[in-house]
Point group: D2
Chain length 160, copies 4
């Protein structure tokens, strides 16, 4: 399964720890980690995966591989700027959002819009007219990966 | 100025009224209306503009012009699916969000992410860690257009 | 019908004349002119259409309307760079290529790849293994528009 | 270095052999192979690389990994259809075109348009007004990889 990890390129210590642990668990469970390839949450998640033998793919905003983090199995420069967020979502079966700001919100919203599950760890809460956006809440990286996998399996079941 | 109007393709009577009035004011002030070209809020806004001599551009998700609303000066099929939301944002100087659901949320987030002003009429509220997303609130279509124009003018001033 | 006119942003006098006359005929026949919105062939075609009451749409590579030609009913900034060529093709029912260089070749190829008719006026010739690319040749702007319209009508017939 | 290999998803025996040998050499020289992830030339190139310990990335037109070939280290679904050709080019430092049809021509043209070197093995020849498109010809897979690497190194030198 391909799990996207999304969050700020400039994150605090708490988010960094959550991201690295999430990456580690993704790798140990033999999933592929998809991300935006930059620093912060993306880098920490990749590091956690990379150091545990995982495969990591970074879909970069720019044209140049050099602007990516050091823990990528494969860098995919797109030259699309922040619009590459859409490709991070498209390339993932499910997403785990850790903290984040507007870029992360755009990925959460686009994922929900095309029906991909999003698990949140200390991330955005959004509502309109009394209804809340359908993020799946998780209390830890372990739970987040578990819920992401479960949500995708559930989708496969529904399709049959 | 190009003003994007975003919202659901399947909207209620209240949103329809807000959208049509917003379109009317955009046209009377000689702005160009940008939207996703489909029904609901998009159609009502286009209708309001079109019937008042305005220019309306619909950036369509599909490949076929036939799936658009009837009030478009120019339809731009993209074949990009919901990823065309990004182009609606790119093509607008400022956006007015009326109600909406996940697609609208993705447009709001992408606009904020690339620094475009978004004015909200009965739309999403989002927060993270005590901070709120920077939408500009407006109480009426007239105020929404006024604030959108002001926000863009302010940006131009800042650039100098 | 939407007819795309493609060619260099920096063209010679002969191409400029062909482009302006092509734009004029498109407008007189009440078709919408789609192009990349910049100078050269794009500007001359738009001018020919605009001065004859036509509707012209420019799909811009950059983020800013100011970098477009002056003869656009609607400018659609995309921020996608040269990748916006794909949108010029997607938004057109048929294309007329006038001269051009690599950008024009990419549009011709992408159009042929997704099955859109391309009419050529003094443009690229391409071949592989003895086969030639399927451009429709035309000897004048009038013939080019005529053949573009015919090719699209033929497609509609085939679909039924 | 990332080397893109482009060609038809439905290729003949000669092209298959060229593609597999090209993939093998890319892997042995520790380059990363980028491609469109489907069958034919793409699959054979991936197979050649994969069986020799190489890293292969497939940028898929569809939304589903299942529609890709079996020799990918990482599949990146895009849901962009044939427009994903642009991402194959963006993600590669240089490209090797083997045979091919319109899709390959669109990739060659887009690469030349944004200044990426393209090496051709039995592929398209294009000309306009007496000038030929600037593909680098190669007589064998070994020469093709050598020339691709050299072209990119030359670009780096020029930039300094």
């Amino acid at each position: 399964m391909r799990i996207g990890v999304i969050g700020c390129s400039d994150c605090g210590a708490k988010e960094a720890e959550l991201a690295r642990e999430t990456g580690r668990i993704i790798a140990l469970q033999k999933h592929i980690l998809i991300c935006g390839g930059m620093g912060g949450v993306m880098e920490e998640a990749c590091r956690g995966a990379f150091e545990n033998g995982g495969v990591t793919v970074g879909i970069l905003p720019g044209d140049d591989e050099k602007d990516s983090n050091r823990y990528l199995t494969a860098a995919v420069p797109t030259g699309m700027g922040k619009a590459r967020n859409i490709l991070v979502v498209k390339a993932s079966d499910a997403l785990i959002a850790i903290g984040g700001w507007y870029g992360t919100l755009s990925e959460i919203a686009f994922a929900l819009n095309i029906g991909k599950p999003v698990v949140g760890l200390n991330t955005w809460e959004c509502g309109i007219g009394g209804r809340k956006a359908g993020l799946i809440e998780a209390a830890s990286p372990g739970k987040a990966v578990e819920k992401a996998v479960k949500a995708v399996s559930g989708q496969f079941r529904e399709k049959r």
